[in-house]
Amino acid sequence: MSDWADLPDDLLNVILSKVFAKDRQSFGLVCRSWNTVAASSPYRYSPCLMYYHRSMHKWRFYQYNSFFCMDFPELENAEIRCSNYGWLLMSRYDNNLFFFDPFNNRKIELPCKLRFGYTTLCFLHPPTSPDCVIVGIGTPDSNNVMKICVLRHGEDEWEINEYRPNKNEFLVSRGAPVLHRGLLYFLDVKGNVATFNMSKCDDCKPRLHVKFRCLRRRRLGNKIKEHFLFKIKGEEALFAVFLLHEERKVNMYRLLEPEMKWEPVEDIGDKVLYLSHASSFGDTAYLKNMANRIYFSRFHGDSAVFYSLNSGKYHSLDGDYSENNSYGLKRLNFATWITPAPTPEYLAAEMTWCSQGSTY
């Protein structure tokens, strides 16, 4: 073998899976055939689990059972609140908010602070888009008032909406809300569903709808410990995964509409789910063996743990762990799944939230 430019593609892909970020760019620059592999590699834009490693003082990325480490001085004293479109929505301890794109090292500061201690905070559309909105939802307080606050692209003040869902308590879940059929869907801790209409409409229709008794087995609602609401690429419906009790039994559901009932799902075929509190989504599995699995932000030693819908068990990627519960696994509650996005060419105007001297 003399011509190393012609290494087999699968071999180049193995090497490529072990390099990250700038080294991945270098890889594609070596020669054209390497670039062809890099451009079509499943590793290029596949989800990474990103979290702060306290004792190392570094941000760690986990992708396909490889770890990569990065320094982000910009993210000091900040917490990941939501992640989407390759961007992170971060809040600092002083309640300032900003967006950060860790793959392209870009940052957008937001003009106003967090007003309340929101249970869940999310954004819809990329932060560079004029359609981008940030939504914070605060669980009903002692007066049973639920706050839904909206910050639109180009505006420097939150639109504050207050609701009294009705007699029943609707304790908002930490799981990130999802934009679906033009409405914002979010959950309460018992697995019930609320929808919120983002646009301020003039007709007096209520913007918030809360639906109770979404789970047919109602008592199940009291046992849910973690909630994930998400869409799966290529699927029409909205899905949820509820983890029950301490052993974290996995229950997956599809939302039947308009009845707003959860229908159990046993199998997701060739799809794979990436679930974390700040971001959850499903996609077609790039690698066949990843199909019908749920990746949480859980580890067994240094090996990621997934839940297999085939076996109904949690397994570690190195094969050392295989149990129907998740006792003793390391849970990374502040980690988020994030998918590297290709670098678009931003105009300077897109990189600011409010343009100075605009007509807003």
Binding site: L11, R24, Q25, L29
Partner: protein, 167 residues
């Protein structure tokens, strides 16, 4: 030349095969070690012949692969010992040696070793310039300066010169 593998004299019960490198050296390997390579396993299933000739793997590389296979076929070794063997196996090896090794493990389909070597190569390639990789792999830059500049611009993971580390 026939070299017995490091596990000492083979017992009569154990079947063995002879593997010949492209430069003509022959290695006596136990069948239990050989079948850890998916390609060798297929060859052994298809024909009775106990001599396998590998036309694209040299003796130095083949000797290393066989040492690996024999260690992993040894039931007396714990998984932990095998794992530490893997780590030592790739450490301190020249990039050039690893290149041939990764190719051989790909040809022989020894997935585990292939991954270990690829990881080591990736570690060495970390924070290296494109020019370094081209030189080490002896690859001609077939980009026009315009095309290269275009890729650098479009695919800018704008990391500036921040250090990326593995842990």
């Amino acid at each position: 030349m026939v070299t017995t593998d490091e596990k000492g004299p083979l017992t009569a019960k154990k079947k063995s095969v002879i593997i010949r490198s492209c430069d003509g050296d022959e290695f006596l390997v136990s069948e239990s070690a050989a079948v850890l390579s998916t390609s060798l396993k297929k060859i052994l299933e298809e024909k009775e012949d106990r001599l396998i000739h590998l036309s694209d793997i040299d003796n130095k590389t083949l000797a290393m692969v066989i040492a690996y296979l024999s260690t992993h076929a040894d039931d007396g070794l714990s998984d932990d010992l095998k794992r530490s063997f893997d780590q030592e196996f790739v450490s301190g090896k020249e990039f050039d040696v690893l290149k041939y090794l990764v190719l051989a493990t790909d040809t022989l389909q020894v997935t585990c070793l292939c991954y270990t070597v690829a990881k080591k190569m990736a570690d060495i390639m970390k924070n290296k310039l494109v020019e370094w990789v081209r030189r080490e792999f002896d690859i001609q830059n077939d980009y026009t300066p315009e095309a290269e500049a275009e890729i650098r611009r479009l695919d800018a993971w704008a990391w500036d010169d921040r250090q990326l580390e593995d842990d």
